[in-house]
């Protein structure tokens, strides 16, 4: 537990000292969403239909854009070796890395969502569901993305491969997330989608750290 907190604290500190880089994915998220009213149509009916989908796609791409940073600098400067040689349980340390990444990239996305939802004329009653799906979904994006990064970090140009590996695994989250919001807007119950997303989150939380640790061991050797 001490090691979990120490690693989490270090990553948050590093993120704070590199604030500029962090703003990148956040800015990307805001720009993508705010261009839609300009490019498609400013009419509120049209926008509100697409709102949930657009915000979800933008969140997914923003995560994909920032995910490689989770292990890149650790791999380059040798701290990853030190982490892997630690006697502490590897999944716990990996969970700390992913938690730090989510806190600095996933959480801010959720926090600006109300603003973007207003821009996209998303009905107020659907906003809660959208936030909830993002809250359940973005940690999964970080966890699954980290597995992909762990597998490709040793390759010279792993960027494209990372996208190909991770995108198919992201699609269920995207489908359920956007679909839940659409369903609320036409007055259907969304407990099914939300439960499923929660189940995926629990599954990812328990299994992904194991997979990340194992993949990193392969990547550094």
């Amino acid at each position: 537990m001490k090691a979990f907190l120490a690693l989490l604290k270090r990553d948050l500190l590093l993120a704070y000292r590199n604030r500029g880089e962090l703003a990148n994915s956040m800015l990307f998220f805001i720009i993508v969403v705010s261009l839609f009213p300009l490019a498609v149509s400013p009419e509120s009916e049209k926008l509100s239909i697409m709102a949930a989908g657009v915000i979800w796609v933008a969140a997914l791409l923003a995560t994909l854009l920032s995910i490689e940073r989770i292990f890149r600098s650790d791999f380059d400067d040798g701290t990853l070796e030190q982490i892997l040689l630690s006697p502490q349980p590897m999944p716990i340390l990996m969970l700390a890395k992913v938690t730090a990444h989510w806190l600095v990239t996933g959480l801010p996305l959720i926090l600006v969502t109300p603003l973007l939802a207003m821009l996209m004329h998303l009905p107020m009653e659907a906003l809660g569901v959208l936030m909830l799906t993002l809250l359940l979904g973005t940690p999964v994006l970080s966890l699954v993305g980290a597995i992909g990064v762990a597998l490709t970090i040793g390759l010279r140009r792993g960027g494209m491969l990372l996208t190909l590996l991770v995108l198919p695994l992201y699609t269920p989250i995207l489908i359920f997330g956007a679909n839940a919001v659409q369903s609320t807007m036409i007055g259907l119950s969304v407990s099914g989608q939300l439960h499923l997303m929660a189940a995926i989150l629990v599954l990812a939380l328990t299994l992904a750290p194991l997979a990340i640790g194992a993949a990193l061991r392969i990547s550094v050797s």
Binding site: I83, L85, P87
Partner: protein, 209 residues
């Protein structure tokens, strides 16, 4: 029970060529092992195998009689590795770096980060961001990591890179002291080591290929 490390029939292939094979050695408390060999003879690879970062193609490594692949915890708590990379975060101070590696090591703290830095000759650099330190100073911070944990076995890959002459003398003393107090050191170095007071064995790689 005194600790010891045994390497048995280690073999490693690179691009279907035997980098080294039939490697057997043993190191006990109070001994040092210097690995020598030309560039590309597999020194770094051997050290990475010894710490468990890479798997050998065949052969086993035993720590106090137990295979390190099966008893990873026992081994990693007793082993400290300083590799080619310093393993330091450029955006953190030496103190922050050392405190993190201590938190990761799960062992009792032998020296505080401040004391360790003083011992490697970096007094007064506690709170300077590592990126602004010179290469030699960063190397010293990396080596200070060895002092804060009570690890018995030190595995050092070219520990003297970028370190000045007087610094090398101090570090040789640090290594000698560690060995004399029952520690073990495995290292590679192109520098002629002045470790006369302690029992140093030599292993030369790449002679048979």
């Amino acid at each position: 029970m005194t600790a010891y490390l045994v390497a048995k029939d280690l073999e490693y292939l690179r691009n279907d060529r035997v980098l080294f094979g039939d490697l057997n050695f043993e190191i006990r408390a109070g001994e040092a092992l210097q690995i020598e060999g030309r560039n590309g003879s597999g020194k770094t690879t051997l050290l990475r195998i010894l710490c468990g970062l890479i798997n050998a193609d065949s052969g086993q490594i035993f720590w106090s009689g137990q295979d390190i692949q099966k008893q990873r915890y026992d081994y990693s708590i007793n082993m400290a590795y300083v590799g080619h990379h310093d393993g330091l975060k450029g955006d953190c101070t030496p103190i922050e770096n050392l405190n993190l590696s201590h938190a990761l090591s799960a062992a009792e703290r032998k020296l505080s980060a401040h004391e360790a830095l003083e011992q490697v000759g970096l007094k007064g650099f506690d709170h300077q961001i590592c990126r602004t330190l010179s290469a030699g100073q960063r190397r010293r911070v990396a080596l200070a990591r060895l002092l804060i944990s009570p690890s018995k076995l030190w595995i050092l890959d070219e520990p003297f890179t970028a370190i000045d002459k007087s610094g090398i003398g101090e570090l040789e003393n640090m290594i000698s002291d560690h060995v004399k107090t029952g520690g073990m050191v495995i290292l590679t170095s192109h520098h002629d080591m002045n470790l006369t007071e302690i029992d140093t064995e030599r292993l030369v790689l790449g002679q048979n290929s």
